[in-house]
């Protein structure tokens, strides 16, 4: 059966006056219907850029899609003309962005903004769209839906604004929903509520989901599969349970170790990964993680490791897996 999403060797670069930033360097993965995938990595590792590239939302200078394919139900989104993309955006694939304050139009009533999505994608009339909007607002947990249709974003709190964004995203029942760091800007308690809400909606509407986050706790709770990215490369991917229990790549190991466990005591140090994130303009020729890797060898510095399927459920890109795991 055809996967919903098939990403093949996606490459994205930014041409700036300081040099070429190689943001996404040949990532490939597939997503089946109903899957929940998490894209994990540090800030700047390319997770958001890869997703924006799929929807062609990147500003084309300075960004440029250097190669690859993104097949949505068999159709390559990257070969579509830019003004044909509106048929995909919102109706097939929807995104919930990170910062709801700046992501909402400050001078347009919230109801109109949600209704706009339906008017544009589902050809609903204004009245009908607003009626649907009221239903949606209630569904996402906004108590006073009828009044709030006419309210403006600045009149809402952060959590409420994010609910509005979610309502907007699911309004046209997209097949794929992408949550780009949607909870990062929120309080921890609100985060939990929002996450639960999205999970419920995913079940109800039968959506496939991609969660982009650097919060590993969320990944463990939500995602069946996880992709770990570093410097624009996928360095490990597979079943979440497997990877969390038994991480293969040194970066993943470091990442999981750095999350302080609740049993940590005062006299124990916090674990961290040595070094700093790489300069995306001047990436080392070999493995991108090699400058910071405790297990590096000569080969790591010059040859880039390919992603290798180690079992049916896990793949990793590292030359020294044996050494890492003392085998």
């Amino acid at each position: 059966m055809l996967p919903l999403l098939d990403v093949r060797h996606l490459e994205v670069a930014f041409f700036t006056k300081d040099g070429v930033v190689k943001a996404v360097n040949g990532i490939s993965y597939t997503l089946d219907y109903g899957d929940t995938l998490a894209l994990v990595g540090e800030s700047g590792c390319g997770k958001t850029v890869s997703v924006l590239a799929m929807l062609r939302l990147l500003p084309v200078p300075p960004a440029k899609i250097m190669g690859g394919q993104v097949l949505l139900e068999g159709h390559d989104l990257l070969r579509l003309k830019l003004d044909q993309m509106h048929t995909v955006r919102g109706s097939q694939i929807a995104i919930v962005f990170q910062d709801p304050m700046t992501s909402l139009n400050p001078v347009m009533p919230v109801g109109d903004q949600i209704a706009e999505a339906m008017q544009v994608n589902l050809r609903l009339g204004r009245k009908e769209a607003l009626e649907q909007t009221e239903v949606l607002l209630q569904r996402v947990g906004l108590p006073n839906a009828a009044n709030q249709l006419k309210s403006y974003p600045h009149q809402f709190s952060g959590g409420m604004r994010q609910r509005v964004m979610i309502a907007m995203a699911i309004s046209c029942k997209p097949k794929l929903l992408i949550a780009d760091e949607s909870t990062t800007a929120l309080d921890v308690t609100i985060q939990a509520q929002i996450v639960d809400l999205v999970k419920e909606l995913q079940q109800e509407l039968g959506m496939t989901m991609i969660w982009i986050t650097h919060n590993l706790g969320l990944v463990a709770r939500l995602a069946k599969r996880v992709i770990v990215m570093y410097a624009g490369y996928i360095i490990e991917m597979g079943l979440t349970k497997q990877i969390f229990a038994n991480p293969i790549h040194p970066y993943t190991i470091g990442l999981l170790n750095s999350v302080p466990g609740i049993e940590l005591t005062v006299d124990q140090d916090l674990q961290y990964i040595e070094g700093a994130p790489p300069d995306m303009i001047k990436l080392p020729p070999g493995c991108p993680f090699s400058p910071r890797c405790l297990y590096r060898s000569e080969r790591c510095l010059t040859e880039r490791p390919e992603l290798v399927e180690l079992t049916t459920s896990v793949a990793a890109a590292c030359w020294n897996i044996d050494r890492v795991h003392n085998r």
């Binding site: 200078p61 509106h86 919102g90 929807a94 992501s103 706009e116 403006y152 600045h154």
Partner: protein, 313 residues
Amino acid sequence: MVKYSIRRLTGTLIVFLALSIFTFVLSRAVPGGPWSQGAEMPLSEEQVAIFKAKYGLDKPLLVQYFIWLRNALTLDFGRPFMAPELTVTQLILKQWPYSAVVGGLAASLACVIGTILGSICAARQNTWLDNVVSTYAVISGTIPSFVLGFVLVYIFSAKLGWFPAGGWSGLSFKNLVLPVVAFGLPAAGGVARWTRQCMLESMSADYVRTAYAKGVRQAGVMSRHVLRNALIPMVTSFLPLFPDMMTGSIFIEKTFGIPGLGQYFVSSSFSRDYTLVLGITMFWAILIALTYLLTDIIYGFIDPRVRLTRRSF
């Protein structure tokens, strides 16, 4: 809200008062009077004394000022010395339309041309078109209106004969074209640059990305999201152009011989015709203050963030 308005109103009134005192004091305190500045017939001491008595200029300064103030509050601004057939109020109302028409049309021209040019630049950012139009905007903004006036008259009146070169002969299309263009075109440059900046800021905002991500197409994004937001800072910059240009048309009036209020301001300052000067000054100050107030109100109207935030003062 009411408290805030009252505070602003009192502040404005204080400024008016200060302005009237300033104008009055300067015009009376510096020696000279309507009889001595470039007078055709120098008056004798006696005649000066009679003149002074007639207009109450021999009374102490403070008294003179309060008499003026008392009258002004009833909108009686007295009569100008040089042309006592009309009251100051009548004179202002008679000559003001010329300045208003020229200034108003010029401001309109500046806004229309500027907005169009600025939008083009923003839509085609960093292309050769953007660079050319932006450069043109900068240059046209620096040519003083009176210089441009000369150039235009030379080309279009003297050489091409499209417009009358003889000077002003009343409010007519033919007479208005050159002054309005000379006055408005330089201002259009500034308007264009500001429009471009506002549009670009709006275009690079996150909510524009959200709109595209929703599936809205370019036309919809530009009109409902970009323009709607860019208009707010744009309008608040454009509205003041109108009172500014309606009161500041002096140079154009001199170049084209338009009998507007600016000319009278110059001549009455020169001849110490203080009733007229005070009248014109107050008139302009009130006009400007009113328009700025209007701008504030309009701004509060079109920006829901301002409109719906309860401000406590």
